[in-house]
Symmetry: C2
Subunit: 153 residues, 2 copies
């Protein structure tokens, strides 16, 4: 079942602020608490809402450096992809990893303390993987925008 307009309003509110009370949501969309409560449970049950998370300030926690990496694998090797995917899944420094089209194979987003920490990660973890052929690193100098909210029209 696809969400109707009311469901989409609720989804938009929840992906902005998961601490809104049902009362507050109901007020914003001019409904009473009962249907809002039912709709949220349904959206959770059917998987439109995957999870609720707290977003932390990485700088205050000492994670000042974000790096995007382009990784190319050695295609000659058997099961390169499975090995790589598994290893990446276990690396806490890697927040995002996707297979992409184009000149290289993977796009990664890595978060670490600083340049030295990235050097450690690069040398001892990422380039240490046998399936990795080439890596290009792009250091984030300034974060213009970061959002987890997709546009729900």
């Amino acid at each position: 079942m696809q969400p109707d307009t009311t469901d989409k309003q609720i989804l938009n509110l929840i992906q902005q602020n998961a601490h809104l009370t049902i009362k507050e949501i109901a007020g914003k969309i001019n409904l009473s608490v009962t249907p809002v409560h039912e709709r949220i449970r349904k959206l959770e049950r059917e998987g439109f809402i995957e999870k609720y998370v707290g977003l932390l300030n990485r700088r205050k926690l000492g994670k000042s450096l974000v790096v995007y990496c382009n990784v190319t694998l050695d295609k000659q090797r058997k099961e390169s992809f499975e090995d790589f995917n598994q290893a990446i899944g276990e690396m806490e420094e890697v927040l995002e990893c996707s297979v992409v089209s184009g000149n290289f194979d993977y796009m990664l987003k890595v978060i670490v303390e600083d340049g030295e920490a990235y050097n450690q990660f690069y040398q001892h973890k990422l380039s240490a993987l046998k399936s990795v052929l080439h890596i290009s690193s792009y250091f984030v100098i300034s974060e213009i925008k970061y959002s987890t909210a997709i546009s729900v029209g």
Copy 2:
């Protein structure tokens, strides 16, 4: 003030699941509710926890295509950066945007319905910006990992 070990345990739990009750958190770290409650309020007040959000399933909502873009600006133009930053901030398709080191200027993460929607975005929004000199697009074929949780050691 930097978070101590107990604070870090709380932060790790909250960035995994913002719907844990204080009781549940207290149980997991062998404390009673009072100190857990106080610590969370402090972590919020001091900005270690920035916000609480619901994460949606983009595929179920019809947003099947993720594209990473490398954008180069025309440096000759005055105020290219300010113009570009402002325009990007208003584009709902762009979830992440950072200034990066290297061959190009910006790394973007864009989420849209499908190839046709990306084409519309590319032609009428992104490349329509006067400050943009060059764009390279990398389509996500498979998402291996996506997390909002930074490692809090």
